[in-house]
């Protein structure tokens, strides 16, 4: 038998270059080959169903485990939200990456110098605990804050009670906050996955500032399995889907609202809207008084009901409660006599929308958006005639006017009545997943009760009930991290002295990097729990190495599907030898057990769990059992059959999507229970009840020939973790995109270096230009949360140091009341 060269070299392991590879690596391929031939796998080699945690989308994946190492990944077929993407494909590199944080570390140099010594877990946890105690003594529990991303987010409410602080504030202002507030106001919905286009049945999909490929490959899977779907993307840069058979409409940054209002105008003018739908299921026929508030029964009858919204009923030719009206008039204007005999003018919300949209006739909108009037008209007609659906957006922390963009988009869908219907914008079924902690009153006393039945009495709540620093400033915000920075720097509204950064990187994530760093330097205690040396680590007092998702056991609801579904994450593998890492959940309990033992005990922790094995075997078991038993009770399931199927398939569908429910049979979470094209919540919060366009307030608009919009966005590789992995050196794009016409004008060629200077922040950086038609004239584009790494813990020649972090150039603009951030900016360009 001839020995093949490949096998020879592997078997001998003789080249110097392969020495660094552990022996088990060498057998991966041969075992995989056995499996491919249909041979049954050795027990040490198996496919394990789990879900991906490389981004927050949690797609269903299977991991090939080969003698304890991840050796391959594939999507779980049939999963309501199957993977995969370039990020998950690189998890093989992540697990035993030499970059992974391996031991707890303690700062010995100045903040930012990244000089650390390794310490054991006990030392790190004890020291953190004693610092926390003295901070709490001086400033109270509320001086502690946590920021996080999707990793560990389920446990955050528990951490809030554990530490006694309200200030658990996520990444959301830099992601979907503006859109989420808008979804609440118009549709009574929540975060991005709570409503979604029915991609597999849609016929015409408008993606406005939304890229399908950013995350959630289940969405991609559904859209691409739909052979009749036409896609139109509206974006200053061509996102990855643009390579396919889609129409790309390059728009001027920050002008989406004008574009969408123009579509609305055309649809109303040409009578392409669904009048029946608007009359019955929306507040379009509500009569609006000159003071902008809706006319209610209380206005005309003494002791009338303020929740009875009046409309003009064409059937009886009179004012009737909307709920009782037979034929509400959409176009009514007239005079109404109030209970005090005053006469006022009223008109319908629909007329107000019509008037608003008429400011944006296509020819006017063309001047603002740079999209020609004919294209606007055509898209409006196509959208209405094909019964299109406009995606409700995801990443909306862009220009500071995004809240209005999203409201306009939701109203556009509403106009043609394509809501909760096959192929329309649909409400996702809820898995009614149990919260980790809920407050209950038992015999007149309040308790915080965990999903695993531990009870913390009210007197231990600490400052949980205190106002959260972001909600003090931005009443409606889901989460605004910038407020934490203000609380640290200016002690406004009160001081924050300790910050836990868990599984996220504010330096890569948040606007205005220099402000983040300034705040870090002012803290009394900065603890970072992460898996890789993100730049934030350089400023930490303590760095605690976290597990990666393959090393955990969890149950979650499935995101990004219209079905109600849950899925499991299996402890696929254990951490590599020498990587002394711990779950953040264990870490937080162990810190609190040492700092405030009574708090940890009240929440079901015992000192036995200090033993990590006991934690894994007993505490996690108790927790997951708690979740399972609550799901079993809520859905009336057979526990054994449920857990068996969940483990075999990796997911369990609790309820398939039922169409025509909201708003048809079930009232929405809006004040009127209807879709509110005229938002009463906005009105109550002194915001314009109708969407409008205003120029981006977040940055100075570019004017001079060498000034540009700097827009950033995400793609299928976006991840602060994955972007550090070896494959990204080749497939990750670290350039800054410039349109060929701009390049020619400035004498810049593909591959040239340019200097960028922030017009507002004055920050300067050098980047390599890619001259490409994938970006509109006058606009530069970069991928965000990927490049421009500056951690001193990264090797000096690491490729992720190249490129820029767009947040170096963005100000700290936060949308008033709504609380979303804005990460685009404007820059001056100089050829080097």
């Amino acid at each position: 038998m001839k020995l093949k060269r490949r096998d020879f070299i592997k078997a001998a392991g003789l080249t110097a270059l392969t020495i660094s590879l552990p022996a088990s690596k060498v057998i991966v391929d041969s075992i995989r080959r056995e499996e491919a031939k249909g041979a049954s796998l050795a027990p040490e080699v198996r496919w394990v169903k789990t879900y991906c945690g490389m981004c927050g989308a949690l797609c269903g994946i299977e991991v090939l485990v080969n003698y304890g190492r991840p050796a391959g990944v594939r999507p779980i077929l049939g999963h309501p939200q199957p993977g995969l993407c370039g990020r998950s494909s690189s998890l093989k590199w992540l697990w035993d990456s030499p970059l992974r944080l391996k031991k707890p570390m303690k700062r010995v140099g100045e903040r930012g110098e990244a000089r650390f010594v390794e310490v054991d877990w006990d030392t790190a946890l004890n020291e953190i605990a004693s610092k926390l105690r003295s901070i709490v003594e001086k400033y109270g529990y509320k001086a502690i804050a946590i920021t996080h991303h999707d990793v560990w987010s389920y446990y955050m409410p528990l951490f809030s009670y554990l530490l006694g602080t309200p200030n658990v504030i996520s990444h959301v202002s830099m992601c979907h906050a503006n859109g989420t507030v808008a979804r609440g106001h118009v549709l009574g919905a929540g975060g991005p996955p709570t409503i979604d286009p029915d991609y597999e049945n849609a016929s015409y999909l408008l993606l406005i500032g939304r890229t399908l490929s950013t995350a959630s490959m289940g969405v991609v899977n559904r859209a691409t399995s739909n052979e009749k779907l036409r896609i139109v993307v509206v974006d200053p840069r061509m996102p990855e889907v643009g390579f396919g058979n889609v129409e790309w409409v390059p728009i001027i940054p920050g002008t989406d609202a004008a574009f969408v209002l123009s579509l609305i105008h055309v649809i109303i003018e040409e009578g392409l809207y669904d009048a029946e739908f608007l009359k019955r299921y929306t507040n379009a026929p509500f009569l609006i008084k000159p003071d902008e508030s809706p006319l209610t029964e209380a206005d005309i009858i003494e002791g009338g009901d303020t929740r009875k919204y009046l409309v003009w009923d064409l059937k009886v030719n009179g004012l009737v409660d909307h709920k009782a009206a037979a034929d509400p008039d959409l176009l009514y204007t007239g005079k109404v006599k109030l209970k005090d005999d005053r006469e006022i003018d009223v008109k319908t919300a629909f007329i107000l929308l019509k008037e608003r949209a008429s400011k944006y006739k296509p020819e006017e909108a063309e001047k603002i958006t740079g999209v020609d009037a004919r294209t606007i008209r055509r898209i409006a007609r196509e959208f209405a005639l094909y019964r299109g659906v406009a995606d409700d957006t995801w990443y909306t922390a862009k220009n500071g006017n995004d809240y209005d963009n999203v409201r306009a988009i939701l109203i556009l869908n509403t106009l043609i009545g394509n809501i909760d219907k096959p192929g329309g914008l649909c409400y996702a079924e809820s898995a009614r997943f149990p919260s980790i902690i809920t407050v209950r009153t038992i015999e007149g006393k309040r308790y915080a009760e965990t999903v695993y039945d531990a009870r913390m009495p009210e007197e231990l709540f600490g400052d949980v009930g205190a106002p959260r620093v972001d909600r003090v400033k931005y009443r409606l915000t889901p989460s605004t991290f910038d407020a934490i920075l203000d609380a640290i720097i200016k002690e406004d509204p009160y001081p924050i002295k300790a910050l836990f950064v868990i599984g996220t990187s504010p330096i890569m994530r948040d606007m205005n990097t220099s402000k983040v760093i300034e705040a870090y330097k002012k803290l009394d205690l900065l603890v970072i729990i992460n898996i890789l040396p993100q730049e934030d680590v350089d400023y930490a007092d303590y760095v605690l190495p976290d597990t990666i998702f393959l090393e955990r056991d969890e149950i979650r609801s499935t995101k990004w599907t219209l079905h109600a579904s849950v899925q499991v994450e299996n402890r696929v593998i254990i951490p590599p030898e020498g990587y002394d890492v711990r779950d953040a959940l264990w870490v937080m309990f162990e810190i609190v057990r040492r700092a405030f033992p009574e708090r940890a005990v009240a929440l079901g922790w015992s000192s036995e769990y200090a033993n990590y094995k006991k934690y894994e075997e007993e505490f996690l078991h108790k927790l997951n059992e708690g979740i399972i038993s609550k799901l079993v009770a809520t859905w009336k399931l057979d526990k054994e059959a449920f857990t068996r199927e969940l483990n075999e398939k990796g997911y369990y569908i609790l309820k398939r999507k039922e169409y025509y429910v909201r708003p048809y049979k079930t009232a929405l979470g809006t004040p009127s229970g209807k879709i509110e094209i005229y938002s009463l919540t906005a009105l109550a919060n002194k915001l314009d009840p109708l969407p409008d366009y205003s120029p981006p307030p977040a940055y100075t608009l570019p004017k001079a020939p060498n000034e540009f919009y700097l827009v950033n966005g995400k793609g299928p590789l976006t991840s602060v973790h994955a972007s550090l992995m070896e494959p990204m050196k080749y497939v990750g794009d670290r350039s800054i995109w410039m349109n060929p016409r701009d390049a020619e004008r400035l004498g810049i060629r593909d591959g040239d270096l340019i200097e960028l200077e922030g017009i507002d922040t004055r920050a300067k950086a050098v980047a390599r230009v890619k001259v490409t038609n994938r970006v509109r004239e006058g606009v530069l584009f970069v991928y965000s949360q990927m490049w421009g790494r500056r951690s001193k813990l990264l090797p000096q020649n690491h490729f992720a140091r190249e490129g820029i972090n767009p947040h170096w150039f963005s100000k700290d603009y936060v949308v008033p009341i709504v609380g979303g951030g804005a990460s685009n900016s404007s820059v001056r360009v100089r050829k080097l």
Partner: protein
């Protein structure tokens, strides 16, 4: 049986799952090299990414296209590069290869690259995929694609999923003018 590949350019979202998985699974022994594929300055894997910028940018994923008239086979002095009788795929018999690199130069698509330690002229299918294919399954790039953009199968069988897709869509083969008769179909609409 003639096995062929299909890539649907109308669906691909450039997610890089195929590109990265191909490298990680077929060539894990070099995945942490500083330069796994110095010849191409690329991943140690069989798929390259090319973006063509004439007017509207176009994406191409380049790998071995399994020509029916393969220049690499024609130039190979030892018949190490050959068309496999069972599958119709262009394969390499490692025991015969003398490392002359003629095939690398001859391939008009730049599909072959030099493995940094074995010095073999690597190409698709890689060692793991060959075995997966011999086991009667679809190779890694096809099984990982989230966008339904890839397929693989027998074009001599009119009922195979790939034959059905080819017959139902407009497709072309890379640089057809060269007369290499690739067994790789790019769906265009």
């Amino acid at each position: 049986m003639r096995l062929a590949y299909l890539w649907d350019s109308t669906k691909c979202i450039a997610c890089m799952a195929c590109v990265v998985s191909c490298a990680g699974s077929n060539y894990s022994e070099i995945m942490r090299f500083e330069e796994p594929n110095p010849m191409m300055k690329w991943l140690g894997g069989n798929i390259r990414v090319v973006i063509r910028e004439v007017g509207r940018p176009e994406l191409r994923l380049v790998s071995c296209f399994h020509c029916d008239k393969p220049p690499c086979v024609l130039v190979c002095p030892t018949r190490a590069s050959h068309i496999d009788r069972d599958t119709g795929l262009v394969l390499l018999d490692e025991t015969k290869c003398i490392g002359c690199k003629a095939c690398i130069v001859a391939c008009p698509y730049g599909a072959r690259w030099l493995h940094p330690t074995t010095l073999l002229p690597e190409k698709c299918p890689g060692p793991v995929c060959i075995d997966i294919i011999r086991g009667g399954r679809k190779p890694i790039c096809v099984s990982v694609c989230p966008a339904n953009a890839r397929d693989f199968g027998d074009i001599d069988d009119p009922n195979s999923s790939i034959s059905i897709k080819i017959s139902k869509s407009k497709s072309e083969r890379p640089l057809e003018l060269l007369g290499t008769e690739p067994k790789y179909f790019i769906v265009k609409g």
